[in-house]
């Protein structure tokens, strides 16, 4: 059986069930805490299935990663007919939906966010294929908003300030949950958060102009 057949015929049912289960479990517990046994249980497969189909837990994680949604996000915020400020608002809104909306079936991206603070061997791939382009994209976007010429290093700090605000809601979620116990995000709340971040960031950027 060739590679191509291996990837398309229905003998891959278990394989794709594993991938989907992996995304759920990894995004919930992170690479380290997620166990092969839990993934296999969710996929209704034998414990040995992961190593048979993927070779290792790490390779399963790597193949479960999917950056399509992040790429689509950038494509959607690139329309030249709308001004940069509005494009930023669109971007932040979609980004926060990816990060926070559990219904949004974007566990492929959420499983990524968990690993940023806790290096796994796959982090190099994540940074190279997803984060670096994303930072470059946001850098260009912010560069169009701040009209005055600014140094590359300064622009970088703006990018960090924006991502810092966004990622806080995901990274510090366990803390926020304890600070107000009835926390849960519906779409309206996520959009409100996104609007705050956009307002806050745009206000800071625009105030830079007079300098």
């Amino acid at each position: 059986m060739t590679e191509l057949q291996h990837a398309s015929t229905d003998c891959t049912q278990t394989r794709s069930r594993l991938l989907e289960a992996a995304r759920v479990v990894f995004s919930q517990h992170g690479f380290q805490r997620a166990t092969v046994r839990e993934i296999c249980a969710l996929a209704d497969a034998n414990v040995a299935a992961v190593n048979y189909h993927f070779g290792s837990k790490e390779e399963l994680f790597s193949q479960a990663l999917n950056f399509n949604r992040l790429k689509a996000l950038q494509a959607a915020s690139i329309d030249p007919d709308i001004n940069p400020e509005a494009r930023l608002r669109l971007f932040v809104r979609d980004f926060m939906l990816i990060l926070l909306d559990e219904q949004h079936a974007s566990s492929q991206c959420r499983m990524m966010a968990r690993e940023l603070a806790d290096p796994t061997p796959v982090l190099d791939k994540i940074v190279h294929e997803a984060i670096a382009p994303l930072h470059a994209f946001v850098g260009r976007l912010l560069g169009q908003i701040v009209i005055a010429p600014i140094e590359e290093a300064t622009l970088k700090r703006y990018v960090y300030s924006l991502f810092g605000q966004c990622l806080f809601y995901r990274n510090s979620h366990p803390v926020l949950q304890r600070l107000n116990p009835d926390l849960s995000y519906d779409i309206a709340q996520i959009e409100a958060i996104a609007q705050h971040i956009s307002d806050f960031t745009l206000a800071a950027l625009n105030a830079k102009i007079p300098d």
Copy 2:
């Protein structure tokens, strides 16, 4: 031997060596990945020492926590003789030094920051004793800067925006390291980061006034 003696006599040498080693190892690897064996090796003690002196790894972690530095930070930024904006700048500077300066012997605080995204049984204690007061403190500070009356929820989002920017440099450190491989922070760089965050935040807050 009473409890009091137990805490003061020199028979506690091993005990305090364990506490110090725990702070180093926990702040480096986090609670989950840190191993009792590594802590004991660093403390030059037997593996059984942790359970003999503390009962469990978790209790060792709990006792190794120390919020004094965070409390001192708040006390230093409360001087009423300087205006709120300058107090904010002081706070952010000290906070970033705690978060980023490896020399600064503040591993007690850094070991805390690692756990925020990855709940351990001790997170409740951390949130209750350290983070909640810290958020409240920064909330009051920001409230003095934004003169116009704002809702409690809005103020909260300002606090999140500030902490998000600060914590980003710690939480996303593995990512930043890969984005520019020659990354390392000396005091001047940390102060530059702190200044950016303060500038960015104050610009955003001041721009809010006309609304």
